[in-house]
């Protein structure tokens, strides 16, 4: 009846699994054991004082006032004051300790989750929306803070209160207690039903929180396209739909918990009614005194108060379990690209061998690359050319082990990349991606991305090496210029320059460039290419080329088409190939070239 729409069957959390999720969370929280233990101690102390306080009132009235005993009254007042002060101190300490334990746990969770997300290969990011991943790291974790801040506290104090109340009740009159507790099955059944329907409902909420955030993220990332396309109103409508879907999911959880809390409250009052009823009967028969009935009824109230608190806690716990479950789903995704036991460092130099490689992107029909074999000598420069979608970028990504081949292998210096340590892999092989993505921070921060320990001088000399130092030092703040969101402070070309300088700083053996220079104007590009020329000396270079000048500077050219490496050779060899693909390509290039400028021709 309250089953959430849209949560599919294998996404459900049955009780056994929910218990597993929580046990796992508890293991994660192990580091906080001592703090949490101390916190529990103080919570218990504060709770106990709250229990004892009213006893002093009773003592004051019964022993002091009724018996006209002034000193008993004063003892009661003094005792109460003392206990209240104790409670005050306990609860002061408990706030700090509970926070320390709870936030410690959340911090642990943040670090683990982020580290794990970062270990994932690109395929994972193709499958998961950025907004959803952000939601897991932020909204989901924050949604648990309520539980870790108050949950432990409530659980302990409610536990103590219930135990104490039950014990006293049984002593007072076990018959009356048992009769009153006849309502217990109602609470249990309600809790079980609540658990079932709320699991789905809360999972649904987490799901839609993620979707909603990813809509927001998409809209913010695409804000310029949206505005340029005069689409703001349409995108607002779409957001409204996803936002209202989230509201509906929230309302499902509200409906589910609403009846549950109602039933628990009703049960508490019913217990009182039962006790009065049975009490009347037992008093008639003379087996209990009126005073006992009064005491039992009063205690029942203090028994059901914490029971209601526990049901609140249960609700919070259900929501947290859904969050945890979503996070553990991520933690359980083994990274496709990983370091296994016994990995070795890549040699500082060596031939790059692509051996019979086949690769398809998950979910796509045709392989993006098949039967690819290629031997690239150390220090050789290879240009990849071919039509759009031919597999050039794919080969470049495989060479840098951003993906692993489905079949065949890629090795450097005789070591299969899959057997190499990731640290040495990223040190030896660097990819300059198509987009010069910049992070918030200064230009210097962005340059240091791959080698955080570099000094300012290192940065300047790297910029010098590619001949773009003045581009950046001429800025009013020089390398300390804040690049702002996504580097919006810089032009597209300048962003590319930063990207190239990053690579220069790492000093890798193998450089993979994917159209890195496509956004530079010819003047700047010449500058950069001249510097790269020096930088690339003695390095292996694989470049996805779209420019004849780049192709011409390569030692060998690899022509891709339809996921195959159809021609491999030098410019002259391939140009001479009758009916060759490269010959056709070069001809197309030629025709797009402007007529040779007369002034420079002479």
């Amino acid at each position: 009846m309250w089953g959430g729409a849209g949560v599919d069957a294998n996404d459900r959390l049955d009780r056994a699994e929910a218990a597993k999720v929580l046990a796992r969370a508890a293991r994660l929280a192990r580091g906080q054991r001592r703090t949490a233990g101390a916190a529990v101690g103080f919570v218990a102390m504060a709770t106990a004082t709250a229990l004892v306080g009213p006893l002093f009132v009773r003592h004051g009235i019964d022993q002091g006032i009724r018996l006209n005993n002034r000193s008993a009254l004063i003892t009661a007042v003094g005792g109460y004051l003392f206990v209240a002060a104790l409670g005050y101190l306990g609860s002061r300490r408990q706030y700090v300790l509970v926070n320390r334990a709870g936030e410690g746990f959340l911090r642990e969770l943040r670090l683990r989750l982020f580290a794990h997300i970062q270990r994932q290969s690109l395929g994972f990011f193709d499958r998961n929306k950025a907004g959803v991943l952000v939601a897991r790291m932020t909204a989901d974790i924050e949604s648990m803070s309520e539980l870790v801040q108050w949950g432990l506290l409530q659980f302990v104090s409610a536990g103590i209160l219930i135990t104490a109340a039950l014990a006293v009740l049984m002593v007072l009159s076990w018959q009356l207690t048992l009769v009153a507790l006849a309502v217990l099955p109602i609470v249990v059944i309600a809790s079980i039903r609540f658990q079932r329907s709320s699991n789905d409902a809360y999972l649904e909420v987490r799901e839609r929180v993620g979707n909603n955030l990813s809509t927001i993220q998409e809209h913010l990332a695409g804000i310029r396209v949206i505005q340029a396309s005069a689409r703001t109103d349409e995108q607002r409508r779409r957001f409204k739909a996803s936002n209202r879907a989230l509201f509906d999911a929230h309302m499902t959880t509200v409906r589910v918990s609403t009846w549950y809390f109602g039933v628990v409250e009703l049960a508490g009052v019913l217990a009182t009614a039962l006790a009065v009823l049975a009490g009347g009967w037992l008093v008639d028969r003379g087996s209990v005194s009126v005073g006992t009935v009064v005491a039992v009824v009063l205690l029942l109230a203090s028994l059901f108060e914490p029971v209601q608190q526990l049901s609140q806690l249960y609700n919070t716990l259900q929501s947290a379990t859904a969050s945890l479950r979503k996070m553990f789903d991520i933690l359980d995704t083994a990274p496709e690209i990983d370091e296994h036991h016994g990995s070795v460092d890549l040699p500082s130099t060596g031939a790059l061998v692509v051996d019979n490689v086949q690769f398809s992107y998950p979910g796509s029909v045709q392989p993006a690359l098949s039967d690819a074999s290629l031997v690239i000598a150390a220090g050789e420069r290879i240009a990849l050319v071919g039509p759009t979608g031919a597999g050039k970028s794919t080969l470049a990504k495989l060479v840098a082990r951003l993906y692993d081949p489905d079949e065949g292998s890629i090795s450097m210096g005789g070591i299969d990349l899959r057997n190499a340590t990731l640290a040495s892999l990223r040190q030896r092989i660097v990819v300059v991606p198509q987009e010069g993505f910049l992070f918030n921070g200064t230009i210097a921060d962005n340059l240091r991305l791959a080698s955080p320990q570099s000094s300012d001088d290192d940065l300047l000399s790297a910029l010098d090496r590619i001949g773009v130092r003045r581009h950046f030092t001429d800025l009013p703040d020089g390398l300390a210029t804040e690049v702002r969101e996504r580097g919006s402070r810089l032009s597209a070309g300048e962003r590319q320059l930063v990207s190239l300088a990053r690579a220069a700083l790492v000093d890798p053996a193998i450089l993979v460039l994917d159209e890195a220079t496509s956004n530079l104007d010819p003047g700047t590009e010449a500058e950069v290419e001249a510097a790269l020329e020096r930088l690339m000396a003695g390095r292996t270079v694989v470049v996805v080329a779209h420019r004849l000048s780049t192709v011409r500077r390569a030692d060998r050219i690899v022509v891709c088409d339809g996921g195959r490496l159809v021609e491999v050779g030098t410019h002259d060899e391939l140009s001479a190939l009758p009916g060759g693909r490269y010959a056709a390509l070069a001809a197309a290039w030629e025709s797009s070239r402007p007529t040779a400028p007369p002034l420079l021709g002479g």
């Binding site: 926070n99 909204a139 927001i216 607002r236 209202r244 104007d521 007369p598």
Partner: protein, 601 residues
């Protein structure tokens, strides 16, 4: 002004917070909220009725008059009533608070979507996402407490009056701590505000780090920058922990005190009331009744303490939300918008002595920039990196307004046109291609409001064919219905760019801007696309920003951008002949071409 003044200014409390956005929403939801308050009150009364009923039941019936069944039934009935009230109260409180949260999120989203690009140059996506999630969460948690708190306040007032009626002197003793609770609450609120603000701001910073690291994952992987990003994240995680502990310490200083104070009243009543009974000024029964009413105060007072704490977080969150909502959009429709003239020959563009810089002390990118483009003419902008070519495109889209001078389309200043009209008149293919998480067809129709991605398939296919995209789209798993991955990553660079070109082609704008639009397209295809584009460009005003000579040659005229102005303009050949700077900018390609030419010979 004293030395303390600036500090006090930065430490803001509940009272200084701008609650207007919340209040206006609450006003809209006042019906539900008042029902919530009424239900809360009814529930509280029920809560009081149950013990009173029980007491009477015991007093009247257990002594054997046989009415025990009736009394028990009455108690059970009261249980049904309070149970239903609990349910209804919760339902309404949560519905209203979630609704307020939802509406507020829409308000922020809609507002931010309409803000000028200059704002977005500075605003971090992750930060804005945090405004719309974590911060609104705090607001929701506060709003949900409003009905119950209001009914608690009513209860406290009711009890206070009862106490005064019962015994004015003892009432003073019992209520004496209340002013202290009030003062403590105020001091607490002042002390915790900056701490809570800090917690939320740290959370938002963490969100920004996460968002960036994921959006830029290709760079992170390519450079092996996981460690650097991890460090950035753990700094933020540590910061959160630190400031949250600071907040907890403040809470520990005040909240237990606020719980202790009502208990002091209770103790005072016991002591002083007891003495009065002993002195014979009061009966035991009166004292017990009095005591019962004082106990009724304990929970509501405690919960008001909690509400103050929640209100504090909500205030901090609202302050941050307000920061976003109070930014006025800089690019807005004029009061009396003009219409672009219709006709056969439209699309004339004029830049008149335009000066523009990105602000905050940055040097002007364009200064005294003049350029006239006749209707139907195509112009290539050529210049070094950072010379301002893309800036010109952004100004024409009215992403920014010039500081001086004017930009006109068909003789009308952009500022006299509706913003949407400008953007429909000007179509652009950006340097970086961004695709949306939707079908290929919807992505192509993105800039064409009149084209339905499902119904008008033919028009979409024509546009795709012109952009050279039809072939590969048909080979996708679901053809034009294939849903593209987030940001369109599952296509190759060239494929993405062609979809963006198809998008601009379909939009059929008066002025088409191609900003480096064919850079990722391979040369063999570029040739094809170029001939397709020339069909599109035919008779349409086009601005081409390109680095490849072949693309430059597509344009009727070339404008050389240098020093923030048009340094020279003319045909490609004219400029080659007379402009040294133009040759300089183009020079780079020539030697390598020579080699090619030489090799061919």
């Amino acid at each position: 002004m004293s030395d303390a003044a600036p500090e006090r200014g930065s430490v803001r409390s509940l009272r200084d917070t701008d609650w207007s956005h919340l209040v206006s929403l609450l006003r809209d939801r006042r019906r539900g909220l008042s029902i919530g308050v009424a239900l809360g009150l009814a529930w509280t009364l029920g809560k009081i009725a149950v013990p009173l009923l029980t007491q009477s039941a015991i007093d009247h019936s257990i002594n054997g008059d046989g009415s025990v069944l009736a009394w028990s039934a009455a108690i059970a009935a009261a249980g049904v009533v309070t149970g239903s009230f609990t349910a209804a109260r919760r339902h309404i409180a949560f519905r209203e608070s979630r609704m307020v949260e939802t509406l507020m999120r829409e308000r922020i989203h809609d507002h931010v979507l309409g803000l000028h690009p200059a704002y977005h140059d500075h605003a971090q996506t992750g930060q804005l996402m945090s405004r719309m999630s974590a911060d609104l969460n705090q607001v929701q948690m506060f709003v949900v407490m409003i009905p119950l708190t209001l009914s608690h306040v009513a209860l406290i007032l009711g009890v206070a009056v009862t106490l005064v009626v019962l015994d004015p002197w003892l009432a003073i003793v019992a209520l004496a701590p209340l002013p202290f609770v009030n003062v403590t609450a105020k001091r607490f609120s002042n002390a915790i505000h900056p701490a809570v603000l800090a917690v939320q701001s740290e959370q938002a910073q963490l969100s920004a780090v996460v968002e960036e690291s994921i959006a830029g994952v290709r760079v992170v992987k390519g450079f092996g920058a996981e460690r650097v990003r991890m460090e950035a994240l753990s700094t933020e995680a540590d910061d959160i922990q630190k400031v949250s502990l600071r907040a907890a310490v403040i809470r520990a200083r005040f909240l237990p005190l606020m719980e202790l104070l009502p208990a002091l009243g209770l103790i005072g009543v016991l002591g002083i009331g007891g003495l009065r009974v002993l002195d014979g000024a009061m009966t035991v029964g009166e004292l017990v009744a009095f005591n019962f009413f004082v106990t009724l105060l304990v929970w509501p007072l405690r919960s008001i303490g909690m509400t103050v704490a929640f209100a504090q977080r909500a205030a901090a969150a609202l302050e941050r939300v307000h920061e976003v909502l109070s930014v006025d959009p800089a690019i807005v429709d004029p009061q009396h918008p003009q219409r672009l003239p219709a006709g056969a020959s439209v699309g004339a563009v004029a830049f008149r002595s335009v000066r523009f810089g990105y602000g905050d002390g940055d040097a002007a990118v364009l200064d005294g920039f003049d350029l006239n483009i006749a209707a139907g003419e195509s112009v290539a902008l050529v210049g070094a990196t950072g010379s301002g070519k893309s800036t010109i495109a952004r100004l024409l889209l009215r992403f920014y307004d010039p500081e001086a001078g004017a930009i006109e389309i068909d003789g009308i200043d952009l500022r006299d046109l509706r913003v949407d009209d400008v953007r429909r008149a000007v179509g652009i293919v950006f340097e970086e291609t961004l695709l949306f998480n939707d079908s290929v067809a919807a992505n192509i129709a993105f800039a064409s409001p009149s084209v339905d991605p499902d119904a008008d398939r033919d028009a979409i296919v024509v546009a795709a064919s012109l952009a050279g995209a039809d072939d590969f789209i048909r080979s996708l798993p679901a053809g034009y219905d294939t849903v593209l991955g987030e940001r369109g990553y599952s296509l190759s660079g060239g494929q993405r760019q062609r979809i963006a070109i198809a998008r601009a082609v379909l939009a059929d704008p008066r002025v088409l801007i191609l900003d480096d639009a064919t850079s990722a397209v391979d040369p063999s295809k570029e040739h094809e696309i170029r001939s397709a584009l020339s069909t599109v460009m035919d008779g349409r005003t086009t601005i081409v920003i390109a680095h490849r000579p072949g693309t430059i040659a597509m344009a009727d005229r070339v404008a050389l951008i240098d020093g923030g102005q048009v340094a020279d303009a003319g045909t490609h050949d004219e400029l080659l002949a007379r402009s040294a700077r133009y040759r300089e900018v183009l020079a780079a390609l020539v030697p390598s071409n020579d080699v090619v030419v030489g090799g061919d010979r």
